[in-house]
Structure formats: structure tokens, C-alpha cells
């Protein structure tokens, strides 16, 4: 590309540099050879120095620029040097060397005899320099593939965008916002503009201005509807606002848009070799503009519906999602960390909950069966667990096979929880179906599974320090005990029921459902005295504990929510009345 072999001469240098500029534009567009671009620029500068009789070997590119711009004052060379400078700035921007860009622009402006003073401290120096930079007029120079003026505009936008993102990452949202607004006002393609608006939206959202955020995101979608990340951010904002209907609409729209393959982006805007997209690529932007996977969106839809009790939609979405899982490799599932999709067994269990709510018990049982069969053989017969195992929350050193005994144990615990939850669901559903004995069997299986965990360790009491997995297991045990107890009640086996409720209270002292059932069981056993005493204890505790219970514990996994609901004591009013009556009668008896 360079004219090698021939000595550099001043008359031919402008032509040579212009050729270099044009060829480097193409080189740098192919992002792989960006390094060559830097080398090409340095070669050009060395040629300039050579022509002027100076030597610039072993200088860094920054030093080289300094030397060239300070020592070479030939008027004919100014325009080509500015062109090269623009390329250099683009290259440094794309590699994130903002300081170098500023330095270069200072040099270029000094050469133009621009006063330093007239930008305020408040304003960003790089941006002011870029704006103030007087680019040589195009008419003066030889034909260029991309004019320096255009390049300068793109540099302005990119610099503002990049700095905005940097500030965003640093958490300086107001600064980030003003910089991004600056970028939005600049020269760029619709696609990039939409991206900038999306970032603005995210910025506003972080600043706690959801309405502004929505406005920016709407702008983004107006500019470029293919900017689907904006749509998913919209859903997130609505979720934050608690407007489920709109959120679900947005998600549905997003899913639809993702399903149909996007047409090749036929951009109406002029095509430039060097574009903002090429210059701005940072991890923050990538994560802000993360494209959601269709499977992920589908799951989100299902999950939200389940959370908000939209039974019909829930089942539909979950079944869609499960179908999606069963499809061939064409349908990919997002399983990575940032994905909204939880572990697959949990999805199955959630689907079972949804089916249960839709009263499709047989289907739900089948889905649970799948989870149970899959976990067979993965759970150790005995799982010894040190209670404080999870406390330091240390990440497993290696997620591999050999690495991370803790990770392995956690995985075993999770499997155990899923398997037990599968039995639990089956138990409840058998109960719903009236198959009481079957239900008791399932609950017993669930409890037997849970017996495999043996906790040991110095601390016996503190429940706060338990692993979340262990906490879930405790919850399942409680629910299974309550479930089995209710079935025993159905069977009229009040003693066994009482035993289960008592165990339940041991597992989770003061649990209102278990306590209520206990009262009921006692009542049924005609131990009215005890029942009344328990009832009084319960009713004293209830009002204040309600608030506490909500705030304190970790949220229960979504797949257990339906079971929790079922476990709530249904006849509390009746029971309360009977006990009140009994109490009234006893007091009357005692007083009289």
C-alpha cells in the first residue's frame, strides 16, 4: 500500500497520503485488520518525516504525531495530515484510547492557531476540541472515499456515545445522560440513533425516572423498530411500574417480533466506510443491547402470567415453552447466567403448577413424573451437609466435574428439592382428584426423599444462615407434612394427622397453616381444651407475625407458590367460630 523503495518527496506526498487515507478507510472497515490501520498511519507519518529530513523511528504513534505536527509546517501537507489525523482519532476511539484522541486533537487545533481558552471547564474537552476542529475543505484535496468532514461528524457522535457509556458504567447517570443526548443530536444512522435512545432510556430508568425512560425507549422504537432490546427494556420498565397488562403486551410483541426473521437491514441512510458502529463497541453496550432469545421471552410471558394468576394464558405459554424445548436444535434455549430462564426442572415444576391451576391434574402429574424420573440416580442416598457450608458464598473454583465439592452438593440439593417438589405436587393433585391413598403415598415419598439430608454442624438454631436450598427443602417438608395431614384428616385418621401437623410445626415453628390444622386435628380428636389453648396462642401471634413473615424470609420458589396457597387452612372462620363457641361455653361453665 505504501510506496516503498521510492524516496519520499514533498511534491508527491499529498498524493501519497491521500491514497493512504483512502486505502486505510477500506482496511479499517474490515475490522479484523484494524491493527494494520495503525501501522499504515505510522508508515505515512514516517514518510512525511523522511521527506522533511527528520527521523522518527522507535517513536510511539503519539510521539510520532507530536513530532510531525510540530515540525512539519509545509502548507500543502496540512490537509492530508488532517485527514490522517481523523483516521487516527477513529482508530484510537475504537480501541478506547480517548486520552490519545484528545492529545492529537489539541495538536491539530494548535496547528490551526485556535485559542485554547474558549471552552468552558464544564464542557467536555474532547467534544469541544472535536467540534472546534476545522477540517480542510474537501474541494482543496484529491477525491476521498469518505470525506473528512463526514468522518469528523462520526467522530463527534462516537466520542459522545462512548463517553456516555463510560459514565453510565461508572454510575454517573446525569453526566452519562447529557453525553448521550449530545450523541443523539449528532450524525449517525437510524440504527445507532435507536441504540443511543435505548441507552438513554436505561439511563433514565436507573435514575428513577420511568416515564422519561419510556419516552426514550419509545423514541428508539420509532427510529428503528428493529431495535428490539428497547422493547424488552420497555417491558422491564412496565414491570417495575407494576403494570402487568402493558408489560405482557410488550413481551408478546417482542416475542412476535423475534419469531419472524428480521429482514435484511436496508438502511436508507448513506453508507459510510467508517461508521459509529465500528467505533463504539463496549461490553456495557453489548449488555444493554442484549437480544433476548425467543425462548426467554416466551418463558417471561409464562412466568408473569403465573405470578399474576392469569390461569388460561399461563398454561398456554408454559405449554408453548415446553414444546419449544422439545423441538429440534433449530429452537435454541437460553440457559446462560443472564438469561431469564431458570433451571429446566423448575420450569417443568412451574408448568405443573400452571396445569394444576387450570385443573389439568393428570397432565400436571405427568410433567412432575418427568422431573422425578430425571432426577433418579442423581441424588445420593445420604447427603451430609454442614450447616454453614453455604455461608461464605464462595464461588466454586471450577464449575467442572472435579471442581467444587460445594457446587456438587448444591446441585445435589437442588435435584433433591426438585424431586421432592415433584412428589409434593403429585400428592396435592392426587388429593384434588380424590385419590386420597395415592396422595398419602406421594407425600410419604416426598418426606422420605427429604430424610436423606442430614444437617450437622455447630449451629443448630439459626435459620438465617441456612443455604437457600436447605430452606426450600424445609418448606417442602412442611408442605408435605401439612398435605399428608390433611389427607389423613380426610381419611378420618386424626391421630396421624395430628402427628404430621406437630412435625410440621417442629420444622417451621409458628407456621399459621400448620398451627391451624393442628387446632383442627385436636378439635376433631375432641381434645377441645388443647385446641382452644393452641388457638389462643395462634390468634395472639397471628396479627404481628403476618407482617414479619412476609418481609423476612426469602421468596419461595415460584413452583411452590401453588402448594403454599393450597396449604392455607381453608376453614379458619368455621373453626374460629366453633372454638369461640366452645370457649364461650367453657367460660360460662366455669363462671357459672
Amino acid at each position: 500500500m505504501m510506496m516503498r523503495g521510492l524516496p519520499a518527496t514533498l511534491p508527491t506526498l499529498p498524493l501519497e497520503l491521500t491514497v493512504l487515507y483512502n486505502s486505510l478507510l477500506f482496511t479499517m472497515e474490515a475490522s479484523d485488520s484494524a491493527m494494520e490501520g495503525q501501522e499504515g498511519i505510522c508508515q505515512g507519518l514516517l514518510r512525511v518525516l523522511e521527506a522533511c529530513g527528520a527521523c522518527g523511528q522507535d517513536l510511539s504513534s503519539e510521539e510520532l504525531w507530536q513530532k510531525v505536527l510540530q515540525e512539519v509546517t509545509v502548507a500543502e501537507l496540512q490537509a492530508p495530515l488532517h485527514q490522517l489525523g481523523a483516521l487516527q482519532a477513529a482508530w484510537w476511539l475504537s480501541t478506547g484510547h480517548l486520552g490519545s484522541v484528545t492529545g492529537l486533537l489539541r495538536l491539530l487545533s494548535n496547528a490551526e492557531d485556535l485559542g485554547k481558552a474558549h471552552w468552558s471547564k464544564v464542557e467536555n474537552e474532547l467534544l469541544s476540541l472535536l467540534k472546534a476542529w476545522r477540517v480542510p475543505a474537501e474541494g482543496d484535496s484529491l477525491p476521498l472515499v469518505q470525506s473528512t468532514r463526514d468522518l469528523k461528524e462520526i467522530l463527534c457522535t462516537s466520542a459522545a456515545f462512548l463517553q456516555g457509556l463510560q459514565e453510565f458504567e461508572a454510575g454517573n447517570f446525569p453526566t452519562a445522560r447529557s453525553l448521550l443526548q449530545e450523541a443523539a443530536g449528532g450524525f449517525c444512522t437510524r440504527k445507532v440513533l435507536a441504540q443511543i435512545y435505548t441507552c438513554l432510556g436505561c439511563c433514565a430508568q436507573r435514575m428513577g425516572k420511568p416515564q422519561t425512560a419510556l419516552q426514550h425507549l419509545k423514541q428508539a422504537l420509532q427510529v428503528d423498530f428493529q431495535c428490539l432490546p428497547a422493547l424488552s427494556h420497555v417491558a422491564a420498565v412496565y414491570h417495575e411500574l407494576g403494570e402487568t397488562d402493558v408489560e405482557l403486551q410488550a413481551l408478546a410483541l417482542l416475542y412476535e417480533a423475534l419469531e419472524e426473521k428480521p429482514p435484511a437491514a436496508a438502511s436508507s441512510s448513506p453508507y459510510f466506510l467508517i461508521r459509529t458502529e465500528l467505533l463504539v463497541h463496549t461490553p456495557v453496550l453489548d449488555s444493554l443491547l442484549r437480544h433476548r432469545h425467543p425462548s426467554e421471552v416466551k418463558y417471561l410471558l409464562a412466568q408473569r402470567c403465573l405470578q399474576h394468576g392469569r390461569v388460561a394464558d399461563t398454561v398456554e405459554h408454559y405449554l408453548d415453552f415446553l414444546a419449544l424445548l422439545q423441538e429440534g436444535l433449530q429452537q435454541q434455549v437460553a440457559l446462560d447466567v443472564s438469561s431469564a430462564v431458570p433451571r429446566i426442572p423448575e420450569v417443568f415444576l412451574e408448568a405443573a403448577s400452571a396445569l394444576e391451576q387450570a385443573e389439568r391434574y393428570q397432565d400436571a402429574i405427568t410433567v412432575c413424573e418427568e422431573v422425578i424420573s430425571r432426577t433418579t440416580g442423581l441424588i445420593p442416598r445420604v447427603l451430609l451437609l454442614e450447616e454453614r457450608l453455604g455461608q461464605p458464598e464462595c464461588p466454586p473454583p471450577q464449575a467442572g466435574l472435579a471442581g467444587g465439592l460445594l457446587a456438587q452438593k448444591k446441585e445435589s440439593l437442588s435435584c433433591l428439592a426438585w424431586r421432592a417438589a415433584g412428589y409434593l405436587h403429585q400428592g396435592w393433585m392426587r388429593g384434588k382428584l380424590g385419590e386420597v391413598k395415592e396422595a398419602v403415598t406421594q407425600f410419604s415419598r416426598c418426606l422420605r426423599e427429604l430424610l436423606q439430608v442430614q444437617l450437622y454442624g455447630p449451629g443448630v438454631e439459626p435459620t438465617e444462615n441456612l443455604l437457600p436450598e436447605v430452606e426450600v427443602l424445609q418448606k417442602i417438608r412442611l408442605l408435605a407434612l401439612i398435605g399428608r395431614g390433611t389427607q389423613f384428616l380426610e381419611l378420618g385418621n386424626h391421630k396421624k394427622a395430628l402427628l404430621d401437623f406437630q412435625h410440621g410445626l417442629q420444622v417451621s415453628p409458628g407456621d399459621p397453616a400448620a398451627a391451624s390444622y393442628l387446632v383442627q386435628a385436636l378439635w376433631n380428636l375432641d381434645r377441645k381444651q388443647e385446641a382452644a389453648a393452641q388457638w389462643q396462642k395462634l390468634s395472639q401471634r397471628l396479627p404481628k407475625e403476618d407482617g414479619q413473615q412476609e418481609g423476612q424470609g426469602r421468596p419461595v420458589p415460584l413452583y411452590l407458590v401453588s402448594c403454599l396457597k393450597q396449604a392455607v387452612f381453608p376453614h379458619s372462620d368455621d373453626l374460629a367460630r366453633s372454638i369461640q363457641n366452645y370457649l364461650g361455653s367453657t367460660t360460662q361453665d366455669s363462671s357459672s
Binding site: 429452537q331 434455549v333 417443568f348 430425571r374 464449575a399 467442572g400
Partner: protein
């Protein structure tokens, strides 16, 4: 472990580069009866195993790195270096073949080479490193931006329009830098290894699923290895072994990665879908799976249900011999994947797994089979502790005795009951190796098999004899070396033990005149005589070193030495060998009489080592001129034989016998530089010469007065020393004979009574030697002393000096001998003696002072003349040796 009895058939040979095929890229695939073979070059061969013919040859645009076969529709997918994946439809090709067959042109030979052109390129991507097929999906692995990218593509049916494939998803991950890329040496030539593992539940895993090298993994191993999510998704897994030794698993159903938040992910921090299973710390060359536990008989129904699916052990093999095997271990307390590392003997070039529990791997020297079937003898209480686990604690490889195989494949023709290993050797030979199961009884051999076995045996014998001849040669060479050493030791011992007396090997040196190239020159002949009982064998060299005496005229040539070497072919005991070397011509300028000649025998130890073909030349390099004969830097044995001096008396060419002979054969020798100098200086000093005219006779024009020197020896002394009586020849005559005893031409003297001889010096100058009897009157008070005066005369001062020196040397030796005998000296007139001595001392002193002054110009010339005069005076003492 039972030895696996292999039966090797050579199927075909394929071209290979001079250095042999390198491992890694060559590949052998087998489907139906066709073998698809790539040997790392740009050619790709299809071989029909049944017809035993080469069906087709494809030429790809670049080196073939990898090749996969899709059986339905029959297509070959070929990864070419730096260009991408090409797809060749085999059905089309066979149709082409049929056409040519129909034309009857070609018979069953391939109709030339079919080029794979760029139209066939379906994935033009230069960064592609590896790929694998899974039904209609292509999984590619490429390297870009410092990361590995795994991409999943779905192939579109032929009815679809232009884009032949659709990228479904991709995941990027970066394992550590490949070992080769850390600056040292060329970039790693290892390619990553891809392999597809599916769970038994995967739809149509029986026949619909096609993935060469892929396998179905049993539960619970699949879930244990890849997690419950992958198992519930029923996702096929891609196992990926990298050149840096990391073994990853990626679920194909969840092949997506979130954009990394902090640039490139760390190895330890992979996204959950991409899971690192193990780090082998050496380039992974093979990933496979085995069925280690044979199903019990009652499980046969299950087998019917599930087909032959279900491996229960995954293995990965590293290049340097590390191997890892993973198997589910259903223990009491937990079901865990048991992971065991083994060390095989590397470097491992390739490996293959069959349906059984054996894995075959090839090193440079052999193919070995290892069996991972292992029943932990838990019934044995002693072993119970050591043998926990489900994998054998150690592997015992069984050799198949096939060396340097670079590609292995297990033939799918296993339906015949025995499996067959296809192997491509480094020399490009395709072999098939039948693997009889150890439990199979020996079957009766058919004639064809007998023929084949004989062929194998014959080729084995050929191999062995070649090796034997090579070994024999080496042994012979060593024997010869030992014999030589023995002989050398014997000779050395003989020579060294007889230091005092006569040496068993003698070298006699004599000077002769001979006519060489029409020119008479003095030659030195060395007569090497072997009187020992050992023969001098080849390898010995006679070194003759000529050393000018330090007392030669020119001082600076004192150290000048020339060494001549003569290789001795063989000298049997009692034999002699005469060697002649010219003196005059060879070292005219350098050599001056008298010469000291040392002879030595030299034996180069290098010759023993066998590479002594050009030993004489090497020896000349060894023994540069001027180097002392014995020096430590010579790698050999040096035995000094003799040392002698050759002087003027030996070299004098006598002319007395034929006085009439034309002296012309004495060709004008090059003028002695000393003489020239003297001549010139004398001419210069002639005007001043008057003063010393008394001593120097007036020189005639152009005819220099002969220089002279004289020595007087008392007759008594001579008589006793030479042991001659008065009655015989006169004393003077006897003295002359004695002096010239060592001269080769002195026989003539013995006839008559000759008291003077004239002769020519080696340089051509004339020298006269005259012996006469004189009586010295004034020395002894008891009367005149009878003495013999030896007079040396020559126009050349140098010759006079040389002759004088030679005579003096002899008389010195004689006198010393006599003095040892202790004969009393006669009465002498001491005053006279003292006077003579004082004269001489004065002259010596004058000579010394003159020599100390540095001569300049005319003064110098005068001084030189004076010196000359003094020396002449000194040479004519009136002393007599008594």
C-alpha cells in the same frame, strides 16, 4: 490381558510426503464397504474395500484438515485449510463413474482426479478449525478475535434457494492460549477435537441420528456429566477438546451466550452452558466413549429395546499419553462421576473406540489396545479398599504390533461378528486389521487365510532380516575397532618397553643423491623395519619431521620444521619399507644442513570409529607444519621411533671417482643468499681491503678465493679412536674414510689411498676436503706432535661452514668417546697453548662486540667484513686435538 491377535491386510498405498504423514489431519472413515481417506494433503480418496479398488480421487483447493461423511444423502464434507468447508455429493460422483463405465473407457480405475472447485464451498470461512455433523446440522469451531466460536448451522435442503445453510446460534468462549502460541516455536499444529454425545432419549437416536465419532451416553452418566438441564432438554452435547488440554461440553440446544460483561470470560468462569469437564494439560487428540460393562443376559431384552446404544464411559486422550476416563459410579452414599487419569506411553498419534470396552491408540511404534472393562473384586476383602471405583486402577495395553499409524477408524462392517480396525500408516499405507475377540476359539483356516498368513510371515521375515543385517554390521564394526585397538596396544607396549636397546620397529634415515625430474637432488630415505612380532596395520602413519638445527646459519629458521606423513597400508613382521622424500626441492629455502630428522608412528583413534576413509588428508590437517610432533590436540597415539641428524658429510656428492665427469649435472643451484650478501659486501669493501690483504688473498676478478677451515687432530688420538695400525692405509686416508663413512658414494675411497676429495654440496657449491699429516713442533716440549690436519675449502663460505660443522661434530663425538676412556694427554707447552687461546679469546671478544653493534650502511659492510675475517681466523686455529 490376552494378547489380541491381529490379522493385518494391506489394502492400498497412498502417496505421502517425504517425511511421512504427520498425525492429526489424516483421517479414515468407513461406511458400507467404502473407505474415505484423507492423508493431510489436498487429495481425498474413496476406496472400495470389497472390490479392492480405488474408486475416486478428489483434489481439494488446499490441505484437507477434516472430513465427515453424511450417509443420507451421501455427501462428503471436507474442511480445507484456511478456506472453509466443501461439500461433495458422492451420489453424483458415482453416477459420473457409471457413465464412464458405460463408455467402456476406464474399467474400474478412477477416471482421473476429480477437482473440488470453489462452487462446492458451502462455508467459506478461513478461520474454521474443525467441524462435525449431526444429521442436517453442521457444528463448526473457528477462531477469531482471540476466542473460539462454536456455531450451529442448519443445512437447508437442496430445494431451498441460495443460502445453503442457516446459522442457528453461536457461542464464544476462550480457553487459555494454545500451548504452541506462547511464542516458542511454530503455532500448534494440533486441531481441536469435536465429538457429539447424545442422551438415549434423544429422538431417533437409533438410526436417524448420524454423527461420525459420536456416541450415545447412558443415564445417569449423561446427567452427571452434562447436568440435568441438558438431560431434560434432551440436547445433544458437543464435547470439545482443545490443543491446550481443556475438555469442554456444550449443549447444542442451548448454544447461546450472553455478551460477556467483562470482555473475555475466564476459563474458570464459563457460562453454564459451556462447561469445562476436565483439563488434560496436553493437546487432546481423541474423544470417544466405551461400553465397559457387558450387559447381563437378562438385560438382552433391554438391548433389543434400546438397540446397541449406550456407552457408559467417556474417554479423552492427550497427545503425550495422558488419558482420562469418566464413568458413573453408583456408590452407597452417592452416584458420582468417577474420573480417573491414566498415563499411556505417548506420543499418541490417534485413537479409536469400538462398541466394546477397548480403546485402540497408536504411537510411533505400535498400536495398543486398552480395556476399561473392570470388575472391582469387592468380594475380596483385601482388595476392597484399593479397588474402590468402577474403573480399572491401571491399564495394561496390549500390543497389536503395527507401527506408526496416523489415523485409525473402526470399521462399520462389524456385522460379520468381528470388528476391524482401519489404519493409515505414516508411509501412506492403508491397512485393515482384524481384531479377533480373545474369547473366540481359533477357527479352521481357509486356504485364502493361510495364504495371507504366509504372506504376513514372509514380510515379517523380510523385516527381521533387514534388521539383523543392520545389527550385524554394527557388531562387525565394533569388532574391527576392538581388534585395531588391541594391535595398537601391543605395538605401543613393545615399543615403550624396549626404550634402551634396539627398538623392535626401527627407522633408519640415510641421505642420497638421486635424479628427480632431470635434476639431481638430495633425498632422504627412511627405512622402516618391523622387527616386532606384530604387523603394522592400516591406520598407522609414519611421520617424519625435518627440523633445521638451531645451529644453522640463519637464526630465524631455527624452529622451522616440516612434517611428512606416510600412511602405512600394512607392514608384516620382518618386512621393511623404504620411503624417500626429496630434500632439495621440497624445502629449498627452509631446510638447511644439518637437519634433525625425527621419525614417529602415529595412530589416529578416529579411524577406529570407522570414519577414517580419508585419514591421510585429515592427518595433514592434524599435523600442520611447524607443530611439534607430539601435541595433546591430536586425537591419537604417537610413538617416537628415532632421531638422527643429516649433515654435509652425508650429503656431499663426491666426484673423485670420475674426475672427468662433466660437472654440468650440478645444475647451477640458486645462489645462497648469504653468499650473495657476502659477495656484494666484499665488492663494496674492496677499496678498503688493503689493510687485511695479508689474511685475505687478493681476489681475482670474478673468482672468489676459496674459504677455508682447518682442524687438527693428533694422530695418536685418531689412531686409537679409529683403531688403525701403521701398516695399513695411511692415517690421512683412513681419516677421510672415517669422515665419509656415512656418505653413500664413499665406496670409491676404500679402494685406493685417497687423501682428498672434491664434491658438490646439495646446493651445488663445490667443496674440497683434504686430509694431511702434519707435525706440530712448538707445542710440546717433548718434541713434535704428529697430527692430522683436515682442511675444508670451498668458494662458498656457507658450504665451508657446513662442512666444518659436520667435521667438528664427528670429531667432537670421537673426542668425547676417547675422553671417557681416559687416555692421558701428552706433555704440552702450555705457554704456546695459552698464547693461542688468548688469541682466540681476543678474536671472540672482538666478534662479540662487532655483533652487538648494529651495522649501518658502509660501516656495517666494513664490520661484516671484519667479522668474516675473524670467523675465518677462528676456523683456522693452530690448535690440535690431542
Amino acid at each position: 490381558m490376552a494378547h489380541v491377535g491381529p490379522r493385518v491386510d494391506y489394502l492400498a498405498g497412498f502417496c505421502c510426503p517425504p517425511g511421512g504423514l504427520a498425525a492429526g489431519k489424516p483421517r479414515v472413515l468407513c461406511h458400507d464397504s467404502h473407505i474415505y481417506l484423507s492423508n493431510g494433503s489436498e487429495f481425498l480418496y474413496v476406496y472400495d474395500q470389497e472390490g479392492k479398488v480405488l474408486k475416486a480421487v478428489y483434489r481439494c483447493p488446499d490441505q484437507v484438515w477434516h472430513m465427515e461423511l453424511l450417509p443420507q444423502p451421501r455427501q462428503l464434507y471436507i474442511l480445507c485449510a484456511h478456506s472453509g468447508i466443501y461439500c461433495v455429493s458422492l451420489e453424483q460422483q458415482s453416477r459420473l463413474m457409471e457413465q464412464t463405465d458405460g463408455d467402456g473407457q476406464e474399467g474400474n480405475c478412477p477416471s482421473g482426479v476429480l477437482p473440488v472447485d470453489s462452487d462446492a464451498c458451502i462455508f467459506p470461512d478461513s478461520s474454521l478449525c474443525m467441524f462435525t455433523l449431526l444429521n442436517s446440522f453442521v457444528i463448526t469451531l473457528s477462531q477469531a478475535h482471540g476466542k473460539w466460536w462454536m456455531k450451529l448451522h442448519e443445512l437447508q435442503g437442496p430445494e431451498q434457494e441460495s443460502p445453503l445453510y442457516r446459522q442457528v446460534s453461536e457461542v464464544g468462549f476462550c480457553p487459555g492460549p494454545p500451548p504452541g502460541d506462547e511464542g516458542d516455536g511454530p503455532p500448534s499444529h494440533f486441531l481441536p477435537v469435536l465429538c457429539c454425545a447424545s442422551s438415549p432419549g434423544t429422538l431417533g437416536s437409533g438410526e436417524g441420528l448420524w454423527c461420525s465419532g459420536g456416541f450415545v451416553l447412558e443415564e445417569p452418566l449423561f446427567s452427571l456429566l452434562f447436568g440435568i438441564d441438558a438431560a431434560m432438554l434432551e440436547s445433544p452435547m458437543i464435547l470439545c477438546g482443545f490443543p491446550d488440554g481443556q475438555l469442554f461440553s456444550v449443549p447444542l440446544k442451548a448454544l447461546s451466550s450472553s455478551p460477556p460483561v467483562d470482555g473475555c470470560h475466564d476459563v474458570s468462569n464459563q457460562d453454564p452452558p459451556v462447561k469445562i469437564l476436565h483439563h488434560l494439560e496436553e493437546p487432546i487428540v481423541f474423544i470417544g466413549a466405551l461400553r465397559t460393562e457387558r450387559r447381563a443376559a437378562e438385560d438382552a431384552e433391554d438391548e433389543q429395546l434400546f438397540g446397541d446404544a449406550g456407552c457408559d464411559c467417556v474417554v479423552a486422550v492427550g497427545h503425550y499419553g495422558k488419558m482420562v476416563a469418566v464413568k458413573a459410579d453408583q456408590r452407597e452414599e452417592a452416584t458420582v462421576p468417577e474420573l480417573r487419569e491414566y498415563c499411556l506411553r505417548g506420543p499418541i498419534l490417534c485413537a479409536a473406540c469400538g462398541s466394546g470396552s477397548r480403546m485402540y491408540y497408536s504411537t510411533h511404534s505400535d498400536i495398543s489396545a486398552v480395556d476399561l472393562d473392570w470388575v472391582g473384586d469387592s468380594s475380596d476383602p483385601e482388595d476392597a479398599e484399593s479397588s474402590t471405583g468402577v474403573l480399572p486402577p491401571v491399564l495394561s495395553p496390549a500390543s497389536l504390533s503395527i507401527c506408526s499409524v496416523v489415523a485409525l477408524s473402526l470399521s462399520s462392517r462389524a456385522s460379520e461378528g468381528e470388528s476391524e480396525l482401519l489404519a493409515l500408516s505414516a508411509k501412506g499405507r492403508l491397512m485393515s486389521c482384524g481384531l479377533c475377540s480373545p474369547e473366540e476359539p481359533d477357527v479352521e483356516l481357509t486356504p485364502a487365510e493361510i495364504g495371507r498368513r504366509i504372506k504376513e510371515l514372509l514380510s515379517g521375515i523380510g523385516n527381521t532380516s533387514e534388521r539383523v543385517s543392520f545389527l550385524k554390521k554394527a557388531v562387525d564394526q565394533k569388532n574391527r575397532a576392538l581388534a585395531s585397538l588391541n594391535q595398537v596396544m601391543n605395538l605401543s607396549a613393545a615399543l615403550l618397553s624396549s626404550q634402551e636397546g634396539q627398538k623392535p620397529i626401527a627407522c633408519t634415515v640415510t641421505a642420497n643423491w638421486s635424479c628427480l625430474l632431470l635434476r639431481d637432488t638430495v633425498t632422504i630415505s627412511c627405512l622402516l623395519e618391523n622387527c616386532s612380532e606384530y604387523s603394522l596395520e592400516e591406520g598407522w602413519t609414519l611421520c617424519v619431521q625435518l627440523l633445521a638445527s638451531p645451529c644453522a646459519l640463519e637464526e630465524e629458521s631455527a624452529d622451522a620444521a616440516t612434517t611428512f606423513t606416510f600412511p602405512i597400508e600394512q607392514l608384516l613382521p620382518g618386512n621393511k619399507r623404504e620411503l624417500t622424500l626429496p630434500l632439495g626441492s621440497a624445502a629449498d629455502a627452509k631446510l638447511d644442513l644439518p637437519l634433525t630428522i625425527s621419525c614417529a608412528l602415529y595412530y589416529s583413534l578416529r579411524d577406529i570409529l570407522g570414519s577414517g576413509s580419508d585419514s591421510s588428508e585429515a592427518l595433514d590437517d592434524f599435523l600442520p607444519d611447524d607443530s611439534p610432533l607430539l601435541s595433546p590436540d591430536r586425537e591419537g597415539i604417537c610413538l617416537p621411533l628415532s632421531e638422527c641428524t643429516i649433515d654435509m658429510l652425508q650429503c656431499l656428492r663426491l666426484e673423485s671417482s670420475s674426475p672427468g665427469t662433466d660437472p654440468s649435472p650440478l645444475a647451477p643451484a640458486p645462489p645462497d643468499p648469504v653468499e650473495t650478501f657476502l659477495k656484494v659486501s666484499r665488492e663494496q669493501t674492496e677499496p678498503k681491503g688493503g689493510k687485511d690483504g695479508e689474511q685475505l688473498p687478493p681476489p681475482g676478478e670474478g673468482n672468489l678465493p676459496p674459504s677455508a677451515a682447518s682442524i687438527r687432530v693428533s694422530s695418536e688420538l685418531l689412531k686409537t679412536a679409529l683403531q688403525i695400525s701403521d701398516s695399513e692405509v695411511p692415517l690421512s686416508c683412513a681419516t677421510l674414510r672415517w669422515l665419509l663413512a656415512e656418505n653413500a658414494g664413499a665406496e670409491a675411497l676404500s679402494s685406493g689411498t685417497v687423501t682428498s676429495v672434491r664434491g658438490a654440496a646439495p646446493d651445488g657449491g663445490e667443496v674440497q676436503l683434504l686430509v694431511r699429516e702434519v707435525s706440530m713442533n712448538d707445542l710440546s716440549p717433548t718434541g713434535p706432535i704428529q697430527a692430522v690436519e683436515i682442511l675444508v675449502e670451498s668458494p662458498s663460505l656457507a658450504d665451508v661452514s657446513r662442512m666444518h660443522h659436520a667435521v667438528i661434530r664427528r670429531i667432537q663425538a670421537l673426542v668425547l668417546e676417547q675422553a671417557a676412556q681416559g687416555s692421558g694427554a701428552p706433555d704440552l707447552r702450555m705457554q704456546c697453548l695459552r698464547q693461542i687461546q688468548a688469541n682466540h679469546e681476543a678474536l671472540l671478544k672482538e666478534a662479540q662486540t662487532l655483533r652487538e653493534q648494529s651495522p649501518h650502511g658502509e660501516e656495517g659492510a666494513a664490520m661484516a667484513e671484519k667479522l668474516l675475517w675473524i670467523y675465518q681466523q677462528l676456523r683456522n686455529p693452530n690448535l690440535v686435538l690431542l
